[in-house]
């Protein structure tokens, strides 16, 4: 009988608010994983210039620059939707939550395209100069 309780996720029609919430949750979890790795990587600073530069050479390779475009999506979406949530929590914006979501997508999309293309530009620059795509 317990399984019959969960028909909501599979059968209820997904609307803007629920999609926004799911994406917020997924990007948040992705960011937790990323931040954990990032703090560990930056901590290699302590091990001296050599180790740091070696680590940086790996994580600034073209492969990672492309992965960072995905990371940028997570950061931008989570931040902007977070602002939308604050508008709902503190500024009574519930009735406008759908247009606000589109504002998040449009502004965020523009920022993502601008930032992402800069990153891809760096990657292509690196590839032109003979750097390997996979740094391993």
């Amino acid at each position: 009988m317990a399984s019959l309780r969960t028909r909501g996720y599979s059968h209820y029609r997904w609307r803007t608010g629920q999609i926004a919430w799911l994406l917020h949750r997924l990007t948040g979890l992705a960011l937790v994983l990323y931040v954990s790795m990032h703090i560990w990587v930056v901590s290699t600073l302590q091990l001296g210039e050599g180790t740091f530069e070696a680590t940086m050479a790996v994580v600034q390779a073209p492969l990672f620059r492309f992965l960072e475009v995905g990371l940028l999506f997570c950061v931008i979406y989570h931040a902007l939707n977070g602002l939308r949530l604050i508008a709902i929590d503190f500024f009574g914006a519930t009735e406008k939550h759908v247009p606000l979501f589109w504002a998040v997508i449009i502004l965020g999309g523009a920022a993502w395209i601008w930032g992402g293309s800069t990153m891809i530009g760096h990657a292509l620059h690196q590839l032109e100069h003979g750097q390997a795509f996979f740094p391993f």
């Binding site: 937790v32 940028l72 950061v75 931040a79 800069t118």
Partner: protein, 146 residues
């Protein structure tokens, strides 16, 4: 009335965490925007040893980065706890998972704090006295690349 007074400030139900999640979130929107601007877009896309150590030598930047670190780890940890509370209801697994989440955050906090704090201001003095030849070379080569 007395019951209400007894409860003020306890924040035991989750109200404090809720507010702090929003405050840390706002802080992070600003901090991450600047973080990306200075470390990814305005510096030609490459993060170097010199840049980071020069910046982290300053107590001002150490403080800013520490506040940034604490905000990120609180926001991340609280985010994990929100998810755990949403889906895990039996006390035993819930308490274990929540403890693991905060344990991870504490480990990351220690790692990050040590990194930020142990970069010595002596590095800055060496630069000023022009005695670290390797540093001058590095700066010059960076200048050439620019």
């Amino acid at each position: 009335m007395l019951k209400m007074l007894a409860r003020t400030g306890t924040g035991s139900g989750g109200s404090n965490a809720w507010v702090l999640q929003r405050i840390s979130g706002l802080l992070l929107v600003v901090a991450l925007f600047l973080h990306y601007l200075f470390l990814h877009f305005l510096n030609g896309g490459d993060v170097t040893w010199n840049e980071v150590t020069t910046r982290l030598a300053s107590p001002l930047f150490k403080t800013i980065d520490l506040i940034f670190l604490v905000s990120v780890l609180f926001h991340a940890g609280q985010g994990l706890v929100i998810n755990i509370h949403d889906y895990i209801h039996r006390p035993a697994p819930r308490v274990i998972l929540v403890s693991l989440a905060w344990l991870l955050m504490i480990v990351l906090l220690i790692t990050g704090t040590v990194t930020i704090v142990t970069l010595e201001p002596g590095f800055l003095q060496e630069m000023q006295m022009g005695q670290a030849a390797g540093v001058i070379d590095a700066i010059q080569s960076q200048g050439v690349a620019l």
